[in-house]
Symmetry: C2
Subunit: 446 residues, 2 copies
């Protein structure tokens, strides 16, 4: 038996290539699907089937292109059709065999109405279950995509799917979800390498058997990245790339492109091209969609950024549908600009010691609501989560006096400050090291 979990960094998406004998299948292939061709080819396997657990919204899938390259059939749920233009509808009556392996679809609605999980049997024993966005490690898929009015219904369906379809497979069955900790498709997921059905259901605080308690716990509206809307539409049409192409390398800033700076936080704070949005290269998937349209032209500013990080950043853009990358600037531009005395911008930093001495200090806290505690050592705080900043910019006072910007570590605060500065705000100071540094300076152990 061949088994590989393909972890796509940035998106925290896990796809799977599984085979036996000389046949293999893929679960939820990513956009740049050459990776499956290479791995299957080297293992002497022919990919004959591609399964989608649901119409994905946080990644572009490469199913159609992978099918074209391999002759495989794409299978997707018959229980819901958001307007697919490809794929063969399947349900629980369908059974698929690959050598000694058998794969059985399970209808597990909750994240979406048509969501499928797939139980894998080896020598007729249940062995693994591919749970897509139904069951994760230490959490479940979000149930808020059908709006407030359907939240209770969808969360109830999720409960029934988990306790009616997944749990009966048996404690010994390995759980293989579509996402790990850090994904926007669930909340509070646990950083764990592996898990089993028995392990997940053993903690009733995480998976309450009581349906009302379950709905109370998970019936929540979460932030939805605007880029998801684009991907939901594009995933109905054939997509796919053999690999993400290396973009043009530029030596001058292109006109009209959004400047996205993926350098080190301190390097960015000290000097950057005016109007640049700061986002660390490995976090583009998490943050970019909140500030930039997928249709916007983009230039990545990447002086002294590791090649590995640049490649991940470029791939992350493609995988979320940011298709208008004008180019990257990996080398030298900023130093030259400084040497030529061109105007560079910077972000003012306030040290925790400076901040603590203030009597009046309007402070923008950009963390999420559930991170905030009443006794945080923050002066004159007002809260706008980073995800809502674009819609709520006018809540940030545009005064002569400084506005301090805070998050846990200083990273999201710098993203926020860079966004506001690009809009012309010149009164922002990022609290260096964020709340962690404030608490250390304060001697408060957490």
């Amino acid at each position: 038996m061949y088994f590989e979990q393909i972890k796509t960094d940035g998106l925290m998406q896990w796809s799977y290539l599984v085979g036996d004998g000389n046949e293999a299948f893929v679960i939820d292939p990513r956009l740049d699907m050459g990776v499956y061709l290479e791995k299957a080819g080297r293992a002497g396997l022919q990919i004959t089937a591609i399964f989608e657990t649901h119409r994905n919204e946080d990644i572009l899938v490469g199913s159609a292109k992978l099918a074209e390259r391999t002759g495989a059939t794409v299978y997707r749920s018959k229980y819901e059709d958001p307007g697919y233009t490809y794929g063969t509808p399947i349900g629980e009556e369908n059974v698929f065999t690959f050598g000694k392996l058998t794969l059985r679809p399970l209808h597990t609605p909750g994240h979406t109405l048509g969501h499928l999980s797939f139980a894998l049997y080896k020598d007729e024993h249940a062995y693994m279950v591919f749970t897509g966005d139904c069951l994760f490690y230490g959490g479940v898929g979000r149930t808020d995509f059908y709006g407030e009015e359907n939240l209770e219904k969808m969360t109830g369906l999720m409960h029934d799917s988990l306790f009616g379809k997944i749990r009966p497979l048996g404690d010994h069955v390995l759980v293989m979800p579509a996402h790990g900790a850090g994904s926007a498709c669930g909340d509070g997921l646990e950083e764990m390498p592996l898990s089993t059905v028995g392990r997940e259901f053993s903690d009733t605080a995480v998976l309450p058997p009581d349906k009302d308690a379950f709905i109370a716990l998970y019936g929540r509206i979460l932030h939805k990245n605007p880029a998801f809307e684009t991907m939901e539409i594009r995933n109905l049409q054939p997509q796919g790339l053999d690999c993400v192409p290396y973009p043009p390398v530029l030596t001058a800033l292109p006109a009209g492109a959004r400047r996205v700076d993926i350098r080190d936080l301190f390097a960015f704070s000290a000097a950057h091209y005016p109007e640049s949005l700061f986002i660390p290269g490995d976090l583009l998937s998490s943050y970019l969609g909140w500030f930039v349209e997928t249709s916007d032209p983009i230039v990545l500013i990447a002086d002294n950024v590791a090649e590995e990080t640049i490649r991940l950043a470029v791939a992350s853009l493609a995988r979320q549908g940011f298709d208008h990358l004008a180019g990257i600037m990996p080398d030298g531009g900023l130093s030259d600009a400084a040497g030529n005395a061109q105007t560079l911008a910077h972000i003012a930093l306030a040290s925790p010691e400076q901040y603590e001495k203030m009597d009046i200090a309007p402070t923008l806290d950009v963390r999420k609501e559930d991170e905030i505690e009443a006794d945080d050592p923050v002066i004159d705080r007002f809260c706008v989560p980073l995800q809502e900043l674009r819609e709520r910019t006018n809540e940030v006072p545009h005064t002569q006096e400084p506005v301090y910007v805070l998050c846990q570590s200083g990273e999201r605060a710098t993203v926020a400050a860079s966004y506001l500065a690009a809009l012309g705000r010149d009164n922002l100071q990022v609290i260096q090291g964020g709340l962690s540094a404030l608490e250390n300076a304060n001697g408060k152990a957490r």
Copy 2:
């Protein structure tokens, strides 16, 4: 939580680096232990403990050197002392914590008398069990190291360890053994990526609950690689390498070194330096010890062999204690030798079609007893398993007439023929493609 399974190819040995918070432990580190330093360092973890499941016999362990580099403590079983000169003895009363992880030793004799498994608890739930050479995927550790006279006792202990210590941990617990399929520490292991306690115990044909049935199934004497004896002794003394050094690259054959040819089988058959032993580079760990002493000087002949395979071959030698590698010859030697009309040797190949037409054809079958079937299409067969060939060379007739050499694919037959040819036998013919080819030529589907 950090978790990584480090798979060492060739030996099919699986070691583990696991951590939480900023502390980590290693289970059964291999000789070249720099790999754990690098992975732990990059993950921001300090290795504070090293656990040995048992005194290993099929690999050299790097525990002592890893302890020296990290300041970690080496822990080993208190239930048996074969003469250790390092390590702190521990038993079931000891408990170790690493962040939110707890590790508890379990005394699981059978493979050895003192063998330990380690149950890992996360947030106080049993999560994984590191089973060493007790429980593998689809099989158990061999129980014959204490001789025929203790075979029933040791196999009975193995049964009690499995059903008394491992199974009670619960179906949902992940099984993390020290070896995968292909290891010489178990027999008939299954090629599986992952497994759980529930999965392993679900098949009563593999793990019979009845003790007598279990002993009947597993109470067997297996071949023991002579290199194991050396490793058993050396593993009592501190060992370890930061990495396996790249050996001298030679352009001429060194005097007095055993010639081990790791090239392609067909290349070897057509032309090789006289007296060379043929062993594929990725199978050195499996075969070399049957023919060469760990103290013998060795030269690896590797024209046109992939660099990756050369590195694996060199590492495999070091990891099993073949410390006298005079050098490698990766390039050009053989072509030059042919061009200069030096004497090169070859192995005669018989095609299946030629062989089938023979009336009399003494045939040496070097497969293991359990591979042989009475109706194999083999003429005048006599059997000497490859592992026993060195001791039973005199059973191979040294006649004018050819002796045919057979295995399943032709690979082991070529190893055998090369060994015999180096002893001066000049009447050998390898049946090309082995039994598989004979059966194809015969039209017999298996």
